[in-house]
Symmetry: C2
Subunit: 120 residues, 2 copies
DNA sequence: CTAAAGCTTGACGTTGACGTGAAGGTCAAG
DNA sequence: CTTGACCTTCACGTCAACGTCAAGCTTTAG
């Protein structure tokens, strides 16, 4: 399939797919006319990429991690156990970010509540 | 007080204070020599700014919100009740972001756990 | 007096994941 | 044939909150 179809199937833009390729996350073959050619697995691959990015992992680390992911990103293959520590550090960073946001949310709630109290 | 002292007191850089002024969040007076002159309330003002930014509010919105904050940012003065809706929307955005991160974190935990299981 | 410290404005650099044209080749439909 | 929908490769623009010089004042300390 060509880039446009993959984009529609995976829910991303063509530009995004070219960017992923530029970052070494996708390696489409080429048709004689120069068009990129993707296969069905690439749809899943794009979903794995989106998952990692959504998890706060950048493209550099995603490039290392992706070869170690199978089965829709739920498992790591044994050969890549050394990535576990990285994942744990990432989980800590996420937890910290969550704590910050929780704090901000609590503060906002306080302001809102105070505003209502003042009004009442 | 001059910019350096305010920076030390509030725990931010001089550049940051100039940036806040550029964004309309601070309005220091000027000494005859051109130096910026801040007063004691500005220390609290900077803290309020940091609080809002930490809550995910950008400088544009902070510029609207700041005139409505008193008492160390815990309350809104009545004249600015119309900002409550904005705060509530912001709280929702934060909650959504938290949910995304929780999801990512759960997924990461799953991967880590799976990796350990595979290893064991 | 002099050197260091602090202040001024101005302006470019940073970070990441793309958006958005520009200029042009390719291909199927009418 | 030609229109229009794709595709290609550059390559600059975006957003936010600053960091980081640069060049040149003023003030402070010794």
């Amino acid at each position: 399939m060509k880039i446009g179809e993959l984009g529609r199937r995976a829910g991303v833009s063509s530009r995004t797919l070219r960017y992923y390729e530029e970052q070494g996350l996708l390696e489409p073959t080429r048709q004689p006319n120069g068009y990129r050619s993707y296969n069905d697995q690439d749809v899943e691959q794009v979903r794995r990429i989106r998952f990692l990015l959504a998890a706060g992992i950048n493209t550099d680390m995603a490039r290392e991690v992706l070869p170690c992911m199978v089965d829709d990103g739920q498992f790591l293959i044994p050969a890549c156990e050394d990535l576990i520590a990285e994942f744990e550090r990432e989980e800590i960073r996420i937890a910290e970010r969550i704590a910050e946001l929780e704090s901000a949310r609590t503060a906002l709630s306080g302001i809102i509540a105070a505003a209502y109290t003042t009004t009442a």
